[in-house]
């Protein structure tokens, strides 16, 4: 299979679709935009894709709470269809607001393979939006397209990114059972709840989740803003030390892996 088709979802207030589209293309995918109105009108359009990406932004202004209105809109007509899409081997990536939408939809962490809100992404402890680069350590997880053991620098840019589980048991499960794919780490590489290394105060430093089958991935920080070498905040120092710029920025791995898996399974 040559270039796997990737659906890049558009919706009012989604605003990272262009860079997400570009990153998918750069990774060798064949991305296509689809507006939520088109998809709701014709849900079977989903079947033509190998992967769905829900980009970042402020869907419907993040009114009521982040991602809530778009998730609500999708729930009735698309929720079960997306579940089946995943069961049949499709991949889903939600970035920032996209992650919030998937969580509200119940697609993440989806430990029981049914649409149910088991965690939330809620207001940062600072009570305001924050844009800063964070360091993530990827965990040994169920996720089929985010390898473990990577240290990645991505920019976080959100006001509601604090990942809170329904209860202590759920929180423990996320970490122990390989649902937590990436943690915020401090300068020593240790997972942290401390600002600013953890920009929102998420318990245990959880920054991203996968689902039970590992085919759905949601991350708060942005791989779609860190896939080029010149995206990285300190690329000039890297350039000076290496003598040249690397091929990719730290975010590219997600898109490359997503496309690689889609191709391999194609």
């Amino acid at each position: 299979m040559s270039s796997p088709k990737v659906l890049v979802l558009r919706a009012p207030g989604i605003n990272c679709e262009r860079e997400t589209h570009f990153a998918c293309q750069r990774a060798g995918g064949a991305p296509e935009y689809l507006h939520i109105q088109q998809l709701l009108g014709k849900p079977e359009l989903l079947d033509g894709y190998r992967a769905i990406v829900v980009p970042g932004g402020f869907s419907y202004g993040d009114d009521i709470s982040s991602g809530r209105v778009l998730a609500q809109e999708m729930k009735g007509r698309l929720g079960d269809r997306i579940l089946r899409f995943v069961e049949r081997g499709g991949l889903v990536l939600g970035i920032c607001n996209g992650f919030q939408v998937l969580v509200r939809l119940g697609l993440l962490p989806c430990t029981q393979n049914r649409l149910e809100e088991e965690v939330t992404l809620t207001h940062n402890l600072s009570n305001h939006y924050e844009c800063r680069w964070v360091t993530l350590r990827t965990q040994k997880s169920r996720c089929v397209f985010l390898p473990a053991g990577l240290t990645l620098r991505w920019p976080a840019a959100h006001g509601e990114g604090r990942l809170v589980a329904r209860d202590a048991a759920m929180q423990k499960l996320l970490l122990d059972e390989g649902y937590a794919v990436a943690l915020y780490v401090d300068a020593q590489g240790t997972p942290t709840e401390q600002y600013p290394a953890n920009p929102n105060g998420a318990p245990l430093g959880m920054a991203g989740l996968t689902n039970h089958s590992g085919r759905v991935l949601g991350v708060m920080p942005h791989p779609d803003r860190s896939f080029l070498p010149t995206h990285m905040p300190d690329w000039r120092r890297t350039q000076l030390e290496r003598g040249s710029l690397p091929e990719d920025g730290d975010g590219m791995v997600v898109f490359r892996e997503m496309v690689r898996v889609a191709k391999a399974e194609g």
Partner: protein, 965 residues
Amino acid sequence: MQAWRIDVLVRPEHQDPMGNSALRALRGAGLDGVTDVRSRRGYLLAAELPEAQVRTFARAVLCDPVIDHFVVHAPDSTAQVAPPGTHMVAVVPRAGVTDPVAHSVQKALADMGLPAVAAGTYKAFDVRGAADAARLLQAARKALANDVVQDVLLDALPAGLPTAAARTDVAVHPIPLAHLDTAGLEKLSKDGGLALDGVEMTAIQQHFQALGRAPTRMELETLAQTWSEHCKHKTLTGNVRFEGRLIENLLKSTIAKVTHTLDRDFCVSVFVDNAGIVKFDDEHSVCIKVETHNRPSAIEPFGGAGTGVGGVIRDVLGTGLGARPIASTDVFCFAPPDLKPAQLPQGCMHPLTLLKGVVAGVRDYGNPMGIPTVNGSVHFDENFVGNPLVYVGNVGILPTARAHKQARTGDVILALGGRTGRDGIHGATFSSLELHTESEKVSSGAVQIGDPITERKAMDAVMRLCDEDLFSAITDCGAGGFSSAVGEMSEGLGAVVELGDAPLKYAGLSPWEIWISEAQERMVLAVPEAKLARALQVCREEACEAFVLGRFTADDRLVVKYQGAVHADLDLKFLHKGLPVRVRDAVYVAPQLSEPALAPEQDFAGALRAVMSDYGVCSKEWIVRQYDHEVQAASAGKPLCGVKEDGPADAAVLAPKLGSRRGVLLANGLNPRYSRIDPAAMAECALDEAMRNIVAAGGDPDYTVVLDNYCWGNTRDPQALGELVRATEALCDLALQYRTPFVSGKDSLHNEFRAGDRTIRIPGCILVTAMSIVPDVARTLTTDLKRPGSLLVLVGATKDELGGSVYYKAKGHLGRNAPRVDKHNAHATLRAVHRAIGARAVLSAHDLSEGGLGAAAVEMAIGGKLGVTIDLQKVVATAGLRPEQLLFSESQSRFLLEVPPDRLPDLTANLAGVPHAVVGEVTKEPIVAIRNGGAQLCASPVAELEAAWKRPLDLDQTLVAGGAK
């Protein structure tokens, strides 16, 4: 209208950041006894919705099932809501104020298959430990709400939803003028908020006398909007008598003349469109616009700044045949944030409240729009107390082939985006009047609250209409609303408008209100008849409301109807050319100032800390981090740089075409304090600073354009106008030397505050914004030091120019010797530094501005987490300067460069003819060591200077241990 009230609360076992934030705000307002605050997010749903459905909806949508719970209050319930031992304050939007969330609530109702009944929102706080309820109410009004747009209730919930007006006045309303003398005309103008003077009113009177009829209210309103200072720039385009000369059309004979004289080939479209358009590459151009939103921000900082951002984004969106906005820049001026409440004139908001509100406004509009805010600055001066300045700028990209537009006869006038409400009526004319103690109350109609998602939908729709080439002209609805947008587009054509079909936010608007409303998020397009159906289809697909407002004609008349009745029938030639040309007198008398007699500096470490902690110099990280500067993935040079991303950047670097490394650099220059000494110095330094910033970041001074944005005290005063002329001429002289064309500009010339018998005027300011095109962003630089062992080279000569400096300010002085730019050498310096950077002889570069060499060196060290040693005796300078003068002079055209030792010969070759010297080197140990020959002046740890630099605006107390000062 009666309504269900639904309170959503975070369950007690979970953290409540909104409550904690309110707790800090109330304590900050002096309520020390408050121990705990929990927040409620409140929703109103019309009483007609059955309770079961209210509960279903609250459970499924309003409430986060993981951490929230909710309480439903019946429509007629007045039961006490606050838990025992607490008081509850509810913050409720006033009637008519845009409530964007309400629309989403209605949408979510419909998505669940429930009736989309009227909805509203509020927030409330359960406050524990406030002994005195009256004091709590008073504090909450300031700390948790803004009285202009929000009502605060104590221990009560809002009773229901605002009821729509019963009746609409749709009468035509002729306004007889013929019988009035000048005084009568002036009174009519004043009472109606038209902001037209006697001469202008007389011109209107004569025009209608010749027609043999009275103007209608709508016609008068249209003329007032179109002829407002805001839209017509009467002062800058007027004639001025100055120093024995008559300057005809000041703007044309100065700013515009520079551009036309230079005739640079990269200027695609200047002074004719919403924004200046500049060639980017073979296919695309970039456009840029900066304007001010001072007035609305003074009264309602959150809404004012937000709608300022929204407005300038629409300017760019409406440039050429539609440009995609790619970056925002914002520059603010406030009174010092530590101003004592007793010094605050009545009717002014405290500068810290203004700053927080403005930052939140920019954040909450810019971020949801998905447009990165990449660059900015903040300046402080006591005289901004009544008139804060909020400059908002935006950059866009468009195909060069689509840089020009022309509506055609027969084209349909299509309006799209937000609905029309009563918001912002008389905004354009309001901005031409001075603010005073009562402005907060009388002018609240001019306040607008933004709805960024509506604008985002409009932007998405316009971008698709562009892709399909579905329109022949476009402009934004800004000041004056439809009246200005249609009036401008129909110049040379004519138009017939029908207002009866305009979607309204609420019933009750009179036709003239619809016509001049400044409701946000609206665009107006000229669509050929054959493309109308497709254009409407695209708007539907993008969930963007659109309607036919009228049609362009060929009779040079602007005819406005409401349900068929003619409310205005204006001669477009009179509307656009009928404004009487004025002659104003201008004088300039230099202020009597002297240099302070200061004892030689004894404490250099202390002086360095004082300079770094000046509000103008200090870190703006608290602000920067609240703006999304990464969205669109174009960022290649961020507002904060260095090892820990906390050093200040000189310019933003963007690569706006994904996959290409061709870039745009964006920077600005402004120093209001110099204006207190000499407005010419202020103007020159603004331009030089903007250019230095560009060059330091790797930009080419010969491929750079600039924008001029004026904010002045009151140019009706001849001295103030003289200052403006003097500044303008200095600015233009220098721009000619630099060969930098002005591509756009704007002015706000009535920034004066009347408090009792005291009049406070802002210092005259020209913000210069510079934009440069670079072939490869991978060749741009940052300010942070890279390598121990590098040499530090100071370029440019240092003079006795501490007038208006941060050093003098820290000592309580202004001084007289404001920096001036050496016109004959400045351009050569910019070019030489650019060549040296091109030759890869420079690892990092920083321009010297506020705080001089000392501040520049410290900032570079903070970014790199390295140290510096500097010997002041090595500095190329006027003879006889004292060490503190060498360290803190703010002489222009200077740079501090980090140069690898083996690259020094290359650097020197490129700097031939330009004063420069190796003044020190970069050290591994993070210490700033300053000496004067053999004498050590200070050896300050970088961490200590960094703390001094970060502390003043560390408003969350998270950047430095110990928090804000």
